[in-house]
């Protein structure tokens, strides 16, 4: 039974990687044919996890939630959890507990990915075939992570099977995927390769108005695993993605990440060592041809990092971890070429951290998890670390400055009775790179402000308390969590400027603070033909920046009062399963005019407060069904889906304009991105 051997060996490798001292999963399922599901967290594990606010994502469960275009989307799926919501239609980022998408750290095998969403969030950020597991930390962030103040989404790529070859291909309406993995040297060296390409534009070209539109993306995941000895393996991972969007001759945009990492994992007795080196190059480029003037815009973020994590099992119930990290960041916040003139700004910084953490269980009543991270960030002032070319602008301050932060984090879990727990946690985390949003959602060309003599790192303090319970058989489980966050070092654009008013980014932004609090409820059904969950979040997020909105608190652009998700999955039999999800989100804050007037013959709008209005709410029903046929040689799966089944038009952009047909002469217009979108895809695995 070679499949059983492959299954067991892969399980050992995967559990050996990046595992905090969680109790061994007590239920693992094999997924369909001969693939191995790496993580399936039972209700018991969810309750037992001492880490407050950490969700190990059950990729099998998520794989059955409605898929768009036949692919599971980790990001869309995590937005179905309480405390997490997606950005508006048209942006693929996710927001956690009052934070915005730029306050999340997304890692893949130790590589940091920046703005990883694809093409307006229509497509999934990650190739789900390539993922082995994903963990979202939305509560106190574990001490081994830095660089993000709101949440951490750590994901891992599936390594190749050491003994057997696997292939799979998926053809859908809008994209295609292929994957291959297997041994290069049996039991010693394996490879895995996953690639995706979308071809939305093939269909758009059939519509006359979109004939010369280009809209596609591709991504490639690759991993080589070398088994040095038992408990000792070396992985080389690679990820590249590119999005392309072009509208006839007018404009073209490209953005994407290219990254690689080396992970060396050694397990010896109670010790585990993980050495990681990673490089990421995130670039965005835009070209515009307006009124015969050629304009080009580029930005990049380059990250070079080395990380060491050491864990020691003091005993069965106690784990000690510590480590160090060093990262060099080089950020080009903008590079503008207009005809023959050029302006650009580049900054660099060196981020170092050391951390220590402890997790332990004291009796069956009490578990604790706490640690501290010491982070030291230095803005680099040497000539090779910065560059500035401006037109009629004063040179920004490139002098060196070092910021030192002590970031304690911890949670305590108390078992009330057998199946009920209470958890309390608190943490401080910092972030050196600010993505400054120019609109209410992320946009590939948002500018990044790296901490410097002028720009401070963002520091977030979070407190949370929660209760979780489950029925004895694990059939149902529920949780209720409340959080309160304060943020310092929040940056936003001044009134009256746009992101490229000047190339010197620091002259355009102001610093202030933010706060957010909320309550999250979740109920899950895990057993039976019908499974699923309901999640509800009630929250409020505000920002206060002197110089904006008269220095008064105003609603943060990611404030969503209510956020509700319902997911239902029906497993009819071995072959058929179906699912639906319904999400509802309150309107987003909007800065709308209060009055209008005429100036120079044109209608102008007068705005008083920032974000004092709200867009209409968004809601959507997604359905999908899939039919799996397992044959002797191969398995085929057909998936049907309908996105936005009742065609509700959720707000994407709202603007105001003259309308002579109306008595008032003015109208407010809402543009939506999606109507109803059906999809079909066909997958073969062998």
């Amino acid at each position: 039974m070679s499949w059983l051997r492959a299954y067991i060996i892969t399980m050992i490798y995967v559990c050996g990687m990046e595992c905090h001292a969680q109790e061994p999963n007590d239920s693992v399922q094999t997924h369909l044919l001969q693939e191995v599901v790496v993580t399936d967290q039972s209700a018991r594990n969810r309750i037992a996890n001492a880490r407050l606010g950490s969700e190990t994502l059950e990729l099998t469960k998520l794989s059955m939630a409605p898929k768009m275009f036949g692919e599971m989307d980790i990001i869309k799926s995590i937005t179905l959890l309480p405390g997490v919501h997606g950005e508006a239609d048209g942006a693929g980022g996710f927001e956690v507990r009052g934070g915005n998408a730029y306050q999340n750290l997304v890692t893949l095998d130790g590589m940091t990915l920046y703005n990883p969403a694809h093409l307006m969030g229509i497509f999934s950020t990650f190739n789900d075939d390539a993922m082995s597991r994903a963990i979202l930390h939305k509560g106190p962030i574990p001490p081994n992570f830095g660089g993000a103040s709101s949440s951490v989404l750590e994901t891992y790529m599936r390594p190749g099977d050491m003994n057997k070859y696997h292939f799979s291909g998926t053809l859908g309406i809008l994209n295609a995927k292929i994957s291959a993995d297997g041994p290069i040297v049996n039991d010693k060296l394996s490879f895995a390769l996953y690639a995706r390409r979308s071809y939305v534009d093939l269909f758009l070209k059939m519509v006359p108005e979109y004939k010369s539109t280009i809209m596609n993306f591709f991504d490639v995941n690759a991993k080589i695993r070398y088994k040095v000895a038992a408990g000792n393996h070396l992985d080389i991972s690679f990820f590249a993605s590119r999005d392309n969007l072009a509208i006839s001759d007018l404009m073209d945009m490209r953005w994407g990440n290219i990254s690689g990492s080396i992970n060396w994992s050694i397990q010896e007795g109670g010790w585990r060592f993980l050495t990681t080196g990673a490089i990421t190059d995130y670039t965005t480029e835009m070209g515009m041809n307006i009124m015969d003037a050629n304009q080009k815009l580029n930005e990049y973020i380059q990250s070079y990092s080395a990380n060491e994590k050491i864990s020691y099992n003091i005993s069965d119930n106690h784990l000690l971890e510590f480590g160090i990290r060093s990262e060099l960041l080089r950020v080009k916040s903008g590079d503008m070429k207009i005809s023959n003139s050029r302006q650009l700004e580049i900054r660099s910084g060196w981020s170092n951290a050391a951390w220590i953490g402890y997790e332990g269980e004291f009796s069956s009543l009490l578990s604790v998890s706490f640690g501290t991270r010491l982070s030291c960030y230095t803005a680099l002032s040497g000539n090779r670390f910065h560059e500035f070319i401006g037109l009629n602008e004063s040179t920004p301050d490139f002098s060196s400055k070092t910021y030192l932060h002590v970031e304690p984090r911890g949670s305590i879990k108390i078992n009330l009775k057998d199946n009920h727990t209470i958890k309390v946690g608190a943490s401080i985390s910092t972030q050196d790179l600010h993505g400054v949003r120019s609109t209410t959602t992320t946009f590939p060309f948002d500018r990044y402000a790296l901490a410097s003599a002028f720009t401070k790192p963002e520091v977030t303090t979070q407190y949370s308390v929660g209760y979780a319970g489950m029925t004895p058989d694990g059939g149902w489980d529920w949780s209720c969590e409340g959080y309160y966050k304060t943020m310092n070092g929040v940056y936003d654009y001044k009134d009256g400027v746009t992101m490229f008013s000047r190339i010197n980014l620091e002259s355009l932004i102001l610093c202030g603070k933010g706060r957010s609090y909320g309550m999250e409820l979740m109920l899950r059904k895990n057993i039976g033909i019908f499974t699923g969950w309901i999640a509800y979040t009630l929250s409020k997020t505000d920002t206060r920046i002197p110089g904006i909105n008269n220095g008064q608190w105003y609603k943060a652009s990611n404030d969503r009062r209510n956020d509700f998700s319902f997911v239902g999955i029906v497993t009819f039999n071995q072959r058929w399963n179906a699912s639906l999800s319904w999400t509802y989100s309150s309107g987003r804050p909007l800065t709308a005019p209060d009055e209008k007037y005429v100036l120079g013959g044109e209608t102008c709008y007068y705005f008083t407060a920032r974000n004092s209005y709200k867009t209409p709410s968004s809601h959507r029903l997604d359905l999908s069904a899939s039919y799996t046929k397992e044959g002797k040689r191969f398995t085929s799966i057909i998936t049907f889906g309908v996105f936005n089944a009742y065609a509700h038009f959720s707000p994407f952009v709202i603007y105001f304009e003259d309308d002579s047909s109306k008595p008032s002469g003015t109208r407010a217009v809402q543009q939506s991105l999606f109507g109803i979108v059906p999809s079909v895809s066909y997958t073969i695995k062998f």
Binding site: I173, D594, E595, P616, S636, S664, G665, S672, Y682
Partner: protein, 113 residues
Amino acid sequence: MRIHILIFTLAFFLVSCEKELDFKYHDVESQLVIEATLSEAEAIVSLTNTIPMDDPLTVNRLTDADVSIKDNTDNIIFQLSSDIEGFFHGEIPGIPGHEYIIEVSRNGKDLST
């Protein structure tokens, strides 16, 4: 290995839609709008009010105000007077390089740039 490839091509209804919103605006105090042009021969100033978004955009020029333009460099104040159409006029030699300030006084409120 027999491979069945069935490609379903469905026209997909990726409809991007525009609709008008029934927008509820806030009640705010009306503001005075001062539109002024200064050239080498004369100055023309027009005073209007901001109008609620739901009201028709009519240009209602206000004349119940004191408008003056001060040449800050030479320290001379020119008073403007309104004409039948509601514009405030003044034959002021606009000298390039000089700093000018508009002062409007209406209903007890004094505004200046």
